[in-house]
């Protein structure tokens, strides 16, 4: 099979973009990505979005975004898998190119959280859980993470500030990312003193919900034009997996099966083993999720994922650098755009353009996009081409 490559990337800064609409965010990222690709002409558009019908009273984003990007006529649909929508859109784009049915695909992730505020955002995000048996009881996504974190700390004897390393690492890495919402490193005391959101979950244990859009141009390697991207990045592995929607229905809620299954399949397809992965962009919407992903993928044994944050293993020069451009904590959680931001940031690493955050000799990056508490996981292995 011919190589499927990412031939162009684009992104907007993540933040509170009161003056920019959902569609304008998407178009900004698309224009950047198409320019970066050397003017490839997309035949299909895959939109990753989580909550536009709830947050912006806007469904049917495929047609809308194709329209405002000046691409009417092309195939255009939305993929929704909660927080994994971006990863799901990337996978659909990948499948379309790999199948040979599409030559050039555009993948856009976009989310506009600030069209609603406060309890309306909580109500919207709560729709990712089981409406009849979770959210009707007042469950929120923060409460889900807090329940997992409380049980994890109980079973594994994690000290009170045991998750601080995830926040410290992400915020340190966000400083040099000009598209990150927060570009200031934090101290351990700042984490320790931060506001309690849902005991034991502190404000620094979760990512801020913000606006943003990120885009990718996918094609087959031989279709890159002469004036096109000189450093295409190969999609070497792509896989997705699903688990029970409700946390209470899991056989073991402290192990993210989907993270293990999708990462394992993606690695097998890429023909690599764990220690060949040079960096990992995990889905750190909550620090507990990052810990559970490190365990599920195999970087730590069960119950010890938090130690990798404490001992520096996830730092830029550590054993397995994570959230290398700030992750969701510092870059910001832009819903269905998050999985696409991960891919954009991984491409920047693999092109060697990550500046102060550059991972030395980066060849393989694993990116993993989660929907809810890993009810969906989508994993991709991106590879630098020699």
């Amino acid at each position: 099979m011919t190589d499927v490559v990412i031939a162009g990337i684009g992104q907007t800064p993540v933040g509170e973009h009161w003056e920019i609409s959902l569609r304008d965010l998407a178009v900004d990222a698309i224009r950047d990505a198409l320019k970066d690709s050397g003017g490839l002409k997309p035949q299909a558009l895959f939109v990753g979005n989580m909550l536009a019908p709830n947050l912006s009273n806007q469904a049917h984003l495929g047609a809308l975004i194709a329209d405002f990007a000046g691409l009417t006529g092309i195939e255009a649909i939305t993929l929704e898998a909660s927080g994994a929508s971006g990863g799901a859109a990337l996978r659909q784009g990948y499948l379309s190119i790999a199948s040979g049915m599409v030559d050039v695909a555009l993948v856009i992730g976009v989310e506009k959280f600030t069209d609603k505020i406060g309890s309306d955002v909580e109500e919207a995000t709560a729709t990712e859980s089981d409406a009849d048996f979770e959210s009707i009881h007042g469950m929120t996504i923060g409460a889900q993470a807090a329940l997992l974190m409380k049980r994890y700390m109980h079973e594994n004897n994690v000290p009170e500030n045991g998750f601080a390393g995830f926040a410290l690492t992400a915020h340190a890495n966000g400083v040099a990312n000009k598209n990150a919402a927060f570009r200031k490193a934090i101290k351990a005391e700042t984490y320790a003193k931060s506001e309690m959101v849902s005991d034991p979950l502190k404000i620094f244990d979760m990512a801020p919900h913000l606006d943003g859009a990120a885009a990718l141009v996918l094609t087959r390697r031989e279709l890159i034009p002469a004036n096109g991207q000189s450093q295409p990045v190969k999609i070497a592995g792509s896989a997705a997996s699903s688990d029970t929607l409700a946390l209470h229905d899991r056989k073991d809620m402290l192990f993210f099966d989907t993270a293990q299954i999708s990462a394992g399949k993606a690695m097998k397809q890429a023909g690599i083993v764990l220690n060949q992965i040079n960096f990992f962009e995990y889905h750190d919407i909550f620090n507990i999720y990052a810990a559970l992903q490190l365990e599920a993928v195999g970087f730590a044994i069960k119950g010890k994922g938090w130690k990798l944050a404490e001992d520096g293993s996830i730092g830029l020069s550590g054993r397995i650098p994570c959230a290398t451009m700030g992750g969701m904590k510092a870059r910001g959680f832009a819903g269905g755009a998050s999985g696409v931001y991960q891919a954009v940031e991984a491409v920047i690493q693999l092109r060697g353009q990550a500046g102060a955050n550059q991972i030395a000799d980066a060849t393989y990056g694993l990116i993993q996009s989660l929907g809810g508490p890993a009810s969906t996981a989508v994993s991709h292995i991106l590879q630098k081409l020699g």
């Binding site: 909580e122 109500e123 009849d132 009881h137 007042g138 329940l147 849902s198 409700a246 229905d249």
Partner: protein, 134 residues
């Protein structure tokens, strides 16, 4: 207004009625008609005792619309004596500290107002600390 959505769940909300698998005897809540243990059809109704223990718990301060009037409140995952786990609020706590493993029992309480003052009031299960047997 979401009356049918709540009405069709009345057996679960008021009676904690789930299912038992006729093939492997696995107890199922919430009901799903397909046994998650053996994969066979499981439509036989089974009323749970309502007794269980706290598997994990937390407090919600930033509540979704429709629940903000009740915030802060405590949400828990409860492991029922018969096996399955469910999500529910803890209630009637007074000043009692909560802990993982604490025995709890089901009670029926008001869960939320559905919409404005003319909206339906949704009742259903919550769990309180288990009362000592006299």
């Amino acid at each position: 207004m979401e009356i049918p959505r709540h009405w069709r769940l009345k057996k679960q909300r008021y009676g904690l009625v789930g299912e038992v698998c006729p093939h492997c005897d696995h107890k199922i809540f919430p009901p799903r008609d397909v046994c998650p243990n053996c994969g066979d059809e499981a439509k036989e109704q089974f009323a749970f005792s309502g007794k269980g223990e706290v598997y994990s718990y937390t407090t919600v301060y930033e509540a979704p619309a429709g629940f903000d009037a009740n915030a802060p409140y405590t949400v828990a995952i409860v492991k029922l004596e018969e096996g399955p786990m469910l999500t529910a609020q803890l209630t009637d706590l007074n000043e009692q500290p909560i802990s993982i493993g604490m025995p709890v029992e089901m009670v029926t309480r008001k869960m939320r107002n559905d919409g404005d003052e003319r909206g339906v009031i949704v009742y259903g299960y919550k769990f309180r600390p288990r009362m000592a047997v006299a």
